[in-house]
């Protein structure tokens, strides 16, 4: 039985359809990322799961119980807000104790002991008597996290959990979240617009676009086999190349606008005609060997990024961006030959 089941949920704000018959099933213990650009409906979905927004239609089950019309306080969930939403008039320990106090389990002392335990999990038990404003941003987030796990919720919801942290703290927190998830096994759903967060944390990534699921799957799957232009573009900003596809059986090739032909893999997905393909920037190499697809081009500009270099290469009228190790990069503007393994050209569905 699934821990969360979202069945054809619809949400409209006026004429704007934010969620369009949305379905989602989450198994117990899963770590799910809702990924998408702003306005794709991911935060609305999270708020509907939490009970803070009422859907216009559809059903919601948490841990086998229908919660569609239920107020947030009657769903056994926890939501960590992007702003943390720590209560400023309560100390850290009182903040963490709050869910226990509201749900009324045990006396004051047991509750405090439990809260202290949760704080120890995020290594903040020594700051229990401070007020939130006396803590740093990273510490505040840990308090918010402790407060979210203390009552052992059926569902842990995280709204952009890393967006308010600077780059270094973000890495620490990723480790922390993963570790907590592994040790507590809480079913966790988090919302993010950052593909690297989604790929780095989740067991399963739900890529959302305009109130629908664009693609769902494991991080590896969704990164290496995007199905649509949107998915390819959103996950890592790949080259999108349009080719004229010809062939049959196992041998197919694509033709660039200037007439250059390249061999294609993924034969079973192909049909003749114009088709868009994704080519990851990292898949492009200089001085290709004979097993690769090769094209003639010219280096237009380059940005040195340290370990890697980004090159803009013109192939006819098409621009291809290559991200290569700096020690394997030709430098300077000149005509050159680039290539990639045929299976790196991944056919996409339009729209």
């Amino acid at each position: 039985m699934s821990q969360l089941s979202v069945q054809s949920v619809v949400k409209r704000f006026g004429d704007l359809v934010v969620l369009d018959k949305f379905d989602l099933d989450v198994a117990k213990g899963e770590f799910i990322a809702l990924l998408g650009p702003s306005g794709c409906g991911k935060s609305t979905l999270l708020r509907i799961i939490a009970g803070l927004e009422r859907p216009n239609g559809g059903d919601l089950h948490i841990a086998g119980r229908s919660v569609t019309g239920l107020a947030p306080e009657h769903r056994n969930i926890a939501l960590m807000f992007q702003s943390y939403a720590l209560l400023p008039h309560m100390t850290v320990i009182e903040n963490v104790r709050f869910p226990l106090r509201m749900r009324g389990g045990g006396d004051r002392e047991t509750q405090r002991a439990k809260a202290l335990e949760a704080l120890a999990l995020v290594k903040l038990d020594h700051l229990a008597d401070r007020f939130p404003r006396q803590l740093s941003g990273g510490q505040q987030q840990r308090v918010a996290l402790a407060r979210s796990i203390v009552a052992e919720p059926d569902l842990l919801l995280l709204d952009e959990p890393l967006s308010n942290l600077d780059a270094r703290l973000r890495e620490d927190m990723q480790v922390e979240l993963k570790r907590l998830h592994e040790s507590l096994g809480l079913t966790t759903i988090f919302v993010t617009h950052d593909q690297s967060e989604a790929l780095g944390l989740a067991d399963r990534v739900i890529l959302m676009n305009r109130g629908r699921i664009e693609q769902a799957g494991s991080p590896e799957d969704i990164y290496s086999r995007p199905r649509t232009v949107f998915a390819a573009d959103f996950l890592g900003g790949a080259n999108i190349i349009e080719l004229d596809v010809q062939g049959s059986g196992e041998t197919w090739h694509g033709t660039f606008a200037d007439g250059t032909q390249v061999p294609l893999a993924h034969a079973s997905d192909l049909t003749a005609g114009k088709r868009k393909f994704m080519l990851r920037k990292e898949a492009v190499v200089f001085s290709p060997d004979e097993t690769m697809a090769t094209v003639e081009g010219s280096i237009e500009t380059q940005n040195y990024l340290g370990g890697q270099t980004r090159s803009l290469i013109k192939v006819g009228d098409i621009e291809i961006i290559a991200l290569t190790d700096s020690d394997r990069t030709e430098t300077g503007r000149h005509a050159t030959r680039i290539g990639w393994r045929p299976e790196e050209l991944i056919p996409l569905q339009d729209a």
Binding site: G51, R54, A71
Partner: protein, 265 residues
């Protein structure tokens, strides 16, 4: 967070809002209704409708004179309050100097002294050091109580504006008078307008200072209304009051246009 509000709470809230709305507005509505009465007396419900009381006040020298006095008083107050308050607001928001916070609270202190007490002090001073209360005394009294509003609106206005504009003007070679005329004062426009509306409204409506500073031959509209209410209210008072309510509504609309009501609240 309507999504998580129980339905019966929404119902109770609607009831509460209607009740409070009635409580706040009915005192104004009954005044308007009374002004349309055809009766000589203030009875409810009015026996019939008529506009005769508006004709009555237009033909009454007492009301017309009082209206004229109130208008002169309010306009004089606006001019004086803007002239004294605007520079002070500029100094308090645009400069950092020792004692700034203390001086700011000195400027706002008339807000916290009940106008009743201030009125008595003013009455004592004018009786002892001048020939007694006068129209000028009223203008001065009203300027004191309205200047803080000008200072607050102009300060709020200036706080929203890029503090570097002034310096940019200097760098571009503007002399001090050019900075004030071309850069600083144009930026204060909305604040000054809002301050002027407040000052006009407060001066035009005040009865407390006016009643204490009663001078021979000087009667404002609120004074006239007060004394009529004390002795013999009739629907003509309601007609004058309705005209004043209409003016207040106009001011509220203007204030919303210029300044935004949500900034007052």
């Amino acid at each position: 967070m309507i999504g998580a509000t129980p339905r019966w709470v929404l119902g109770a809230t609607a009831f509460f809002l209607v009740a409070v709305g009635l409580f706040m507005l009915v005192p104004l509505l009954v005044v308007i209704a009374s002004s349309l009465s055809s009766s000589e007396f203030l009875v409810f419900p009015p026996p019939g409708l008529s506009l005769r009381w508006y004709g009555e006040i237009l033909g009454s020298d007492a009301y017309l004179n009082a209206g004229w006095t109130s208008l002169k008083l309010a306009l004089g107050t606006v001019v004086l309050a803007l002239a004294l308050g605007t520079p002070a607001a500029i100094a308090l928001t645009r400069f950092r100097f020792a004692g700034r916070a203390a001086i700011a609270s000195v400027f706002l202190s008339p807000l916290i002294l009940p106008s009743l007490i201030f009125a008595i002090g003013l009455l004592i001073v004018f009786s002892r050091y001048a020939a007694g209360p006068s129209f000028l005394g009223l203008v001065i009294g009203h300027t004191v109580i309205t200047m803080p509003y000008v200072i607050r609106t102009v300060s709020a206005n200036l706080a929203d504006i890029d503090p570097n504009l002034d310096e940019a003007a200097r760098v571009m070679g503007a002399r001090w008078w050019q900075r004030y005329l071309l850069v600083i004062l144009p930026q204060c426009r909305t604040g000054m307008a809002a301050g002027a509306f407040f000052a006009f409204n407060i001066s035009f409506d005040d009865a407390v200072i006016a009643l204490f500073m009663r001078a021979p031959g000087v009667e404002t509209l609120p004074m006239r209304i007060y004394s009529t209410l004390e002795f013999s209210p009739d629907p003509s008072v309601a007609a004058v009051s309705t005209v004043m309510i209409a003016m207040t509504m106009l001011l509220v609309v203007l204030l919303n246009r210029v300044f935004g009501l949500s900034r007052i609240a």
